[in-house]
């Protein structure tokens, strides 16, 4: 039975080794200048170092260039793409067509993964970007299991699905945290608070906590719960989804490593010994619950949720 790739997000170069040992098949790295909401910040030198570690363990390296670019960065895209091509990274993750155009010009053999996070919602769009040059589509997190499997059935590109972690709900170009402190007249605190860690918005009515942070790409607001479907992998494995992603953004490296180990076990069992998986999956879920940070409840995202419009 086909095993999906287990794709994870390291926080730094050293972490890649731990994740490889925990069973990761691939990692996503990059820097916020080009990539969105990464678990760690990887300079060009870090990418060179990451490639050494990754090659040693046979782990694939994908580099995030999925920001929404304004004109000011368009000219430098080609230099970065060329650099990534020289390092022979395994793929570039993009959302903005400017990246696709740049790759066509300077590194036409580079593999591309299409990931806008919210707009890969039907199989036609996935195949469209496939015809434009993408090898993989990363599905929107707001799809249910049936939709995901139906997309895979019709897809001419690889399909990646996030199975664990936080997702982004909102990105603004405005400095929303900084603006709030400025509005309150707390000008001295703006710089410090803008980039503070551990900030969240509290929604009284739903009793939800939404992590919020600012970076070069603007203000990001994240989901109140971490997706966890370690005990619900059967249907997607049977549908031969190509890649399962664990997103570790805003989590500690040890947590990401442990979750990687548990999903490794889950995928291996689910593909090789379904009976044992059925027996053990509750325990795997319990082990994640045991290490879950206090303010991050688990849920199953949109996999089993009805959305209306």
């Amino acid at each position: 039975m086909k095993k999906p790739e287990l794709l994870v997000t390291p926080t730094d170069v050293a972490h890649i080794e731990q994740l490889a040992q925990a069973g990761a098949n691939a990692v996503i790295i990059g820097e916020q200048r080009y990539g969105l909401r990464l678990a760690g910040e990887f300079s060009r030198q870090d990418i060179i170092d990451a490639m050494h570690v990754a090659r040693k363990y046979g782990v694939r390296v994908y580099v995030a260039m999925n920001a929404l670019f304004h004109n000011d960065k368009v000219d430098e895209l080609s230099d970065y793409v060329r650099f990534l091509s020289e390092q022979q990274v395994d793929a570039i993750v993009f959302g903005d067509p400017a990246v696709l155009m740049t790759v066509r010009e300077v590194a036409p053999h580079m593999k591309l993964h299409w990931n806008t996070e919210t707009t890969a919602t039907n199989w036609y769009a996935c195949n469209y970007w496939g015809r434009k040059g993408a090898k993989r589509a990363v599905l929107a997190r707001e799809l249910n299991m049936e939709e995901i499997i139906d997309i895979k059935k019709h897809a001419e590109v690889e399909i990646e699905v996030q199975v664990h972690g936080m997702t982004c709900m909102f990105q603004s170009k405005r400095s929303l945290i900084g603006n709030y402190f400025e509005y309150q007249g707390k000008f001295m605190e703006v710089q410090q608070m803008k980039y503070a860690k551990g900030l969240f918005l509290y929604d009284k009515e739903r009793d939800n906590k939404y992590p919020i942070f600012e970076d070069e790409n603007g203000t990001h607001i994240m989901s109140p719960n971490d997706i966890c479907i370690i005990d619900e992998l059967e249907d997607m494995i049977d549908a031969e989804i190509d890649s399962f992603k664990i997103d570790g953004v805003l989590h500690e490296p040890d947590y990401i490593t442990e979750v990687t180990k548990l999903y490794r076990r889950a995928i291996d069992l689910c593909t090789e010994n379904r009976e044992q998986y059925e027996e053990e999956k509750g325990e795997l879920l319990a082990r994640i619950e045991a290490i879950q940070p206090k303010h991050r409840p688990l849920d199953t995202g949109f996999f089993f949720k009805e959305t209306v419009y």
């Binding site: 155009m101 996070e117 707009t119 036609y124 909102f170 929303l176 969240f200």
Partner: protein, 417 residues
């Protein structure tokens, strides 16, 4: 094509941008066109992003297209959802229908709809929706190569960025000039999905960004409030866009279409905003070098504003003053109270459809494309049968009363608070 030419020793603008207005239903469409819109965008029963709006049936669209044609105006249909698999059946028929009723173009975000339209309804122009959050010239170049006639830029693009895009890519550019805005990059916000299980990118947006939140910071496992009981809560509600002061610059940049937001807004709003921008654009194009913004235009816009307004990203990334904290809405200063149906020049009697309560003694204001605004104190009011009324109390009731100056069908009557 140059923007301006010297004609008889005077510079005039020869490339006049399209004024594009919203319309939530047929009546609003007619008002928008009558008040001077060059084009109107509307939503159909499916595939658009305002599932709460009235929206148009194909028959209504056909009527709208015919009405607009008399004025030389175009109709575009917003077809800008990000579709799910379940939305694919029916799409071809829907697009063929739009083409059949003579719609000029569609505003689209999803490549599924772009390519399907090309295949089954090739007469429709395809415009890329702001839902694609198009922010750079190279991405614009991509969509040009895909054969699109026009792109609507992200609301986050500045004047300088638009200038560079215009220089580098030969494609029609449409940008927003007025109305409510997303505070997130459009198409990249799923707050509604998470908070209310309504799909924002298929028209279910419940505007969670307009709600209040409390900002906390985690210290270890402890959540510390970063606000005081007396502080206004965290908010991310943007002021509405208003680029009236920037229209000259936008025209000189060669922007092809200037767009007003608001398919959910009233006919009074549509009429007021369209007529003001019509005057600004016409005045600037006729004599750009002696143009000044008139105070009465600004006052007029204010009469239908339900939020404070700001120029947003056109001149750079907006700061806290362009957001709303604490108080969320501004009470409009005027109510729309009646729509003129007819006027008898001999008797000076107007026939008017009531849209809000008014009574003898009220001072009201008339406005419309054929007239200069004027105020009038209402004397006796009669119903259709000639019975005198103590007030015009009933919505859509037809009433008559004396008006000193000539008014025309579709002129509107408003009343200050």
């Amino acid at each position: 094509m140059s923007i301006s030419q010297i004609i008889d020793g005077k510079r005039v603008i020869v490339k006049k941008p399209e004024l594009l207005a919203p319309a939530g239903n047929l009546e609003k469409l007619k008002v928008a066109v009558h008040y001077g819109a060059d084009a109107v965008f509307i939503g159909g029963q499916e595939y658009g992003l305002r599932s709460n709006a009235d929206n148009f049936t194909l028959e209504e669209m056909a009527e709208g297209v015919q009405f607009a044609k008399k004025y030389g105006a175009k109709i575009y249909v917003t077809t800008n959802i990000y579709a799910h698999n379940e939305n694919i059946p029916g799409l071809e028929d829907y697009l063929r229908g739009l083409e059949r009723v003579g719609v000029h173009g569609i505003i689209v975000a999803d490549p599924l709809i772009i390519e399907t339209a090309r295949r089954v309804a090739p007469k429709l122009e395809v415009h890329l929706s702001t839902q694609q959050s198009l922010t750079n010239w190279k991405a614009v170049q991509f969509w040009k190569e895909e054969g699109l006639e026009r792109v609507v830029l992200a609301r986050e693009t500045s004047a300088e960025e638009i200038r560079e895009i215009k220089e580098k890519v030969d494609i029609e550019i449409e940008t927003f000039i007025h109305g409510a805005m997303c505070i997130a990059y459009s198409g990249r916000c799923v707050l509604s999905n998470h908070m209310t299980a309504r799909d924002s990118n298929r028209g279910g947006c419940c505007q969670s960004c307009r709600w209040d939140y409390d900002l906390y910071k985690l210290e270890g496992d402890q959540a510390m409030a970063l606000f005081d009981e007396n502080d206004d809560p965290f908010a991310m509600s943007p002021k509405d866009l208003n680029l009236i002061q920037s229209i000259p610059k936008m025209i000189e940049l060669g922007i092809d279409s200037l767009k007003i937001e608001g398919r959910m807004k009233s006919i009074h709003y549509v009429a007021t905003v369209v007529s003001v921008y019509r005057k600004v654009i016409d005045a600037y194009c006729a004599d750009p070098d002696n143009f000044v913004i008139r105070k009465e235009w600004l006052d007029e816009l204010d009469k239908c504003a339900n939020r404070d307004t700001a120029p947003a990203f056109f001149e750079g990334v907006p700061g806290y003053k362009e957001q709303m904290f604490g108080v969320h809405s501004k009470k409009t200063t005027y109510d729309f109270v009646g729509l003129v149906l007819d006027y008898d020049k001999q008797t000076g009697i107007v026939t008017l459809q009531q849209r809000n309560f008014f009574k003898p003694g009220d001072e009201v204001e008339f406005f419309g494309p054929e007239i200069e605004n004027f105020t009038q104190v209402i004397e006796k009011i009669w119903d259709e049968e000639g019975n005198e009324l103590d007030a015009a109390r009933h919505p859509l009731q037809i009433v008559r009363f004396k008006v000193d100056r000539e008014v025309f069908p579709y002129n509107m009557m408003r009343k200050g608070h």
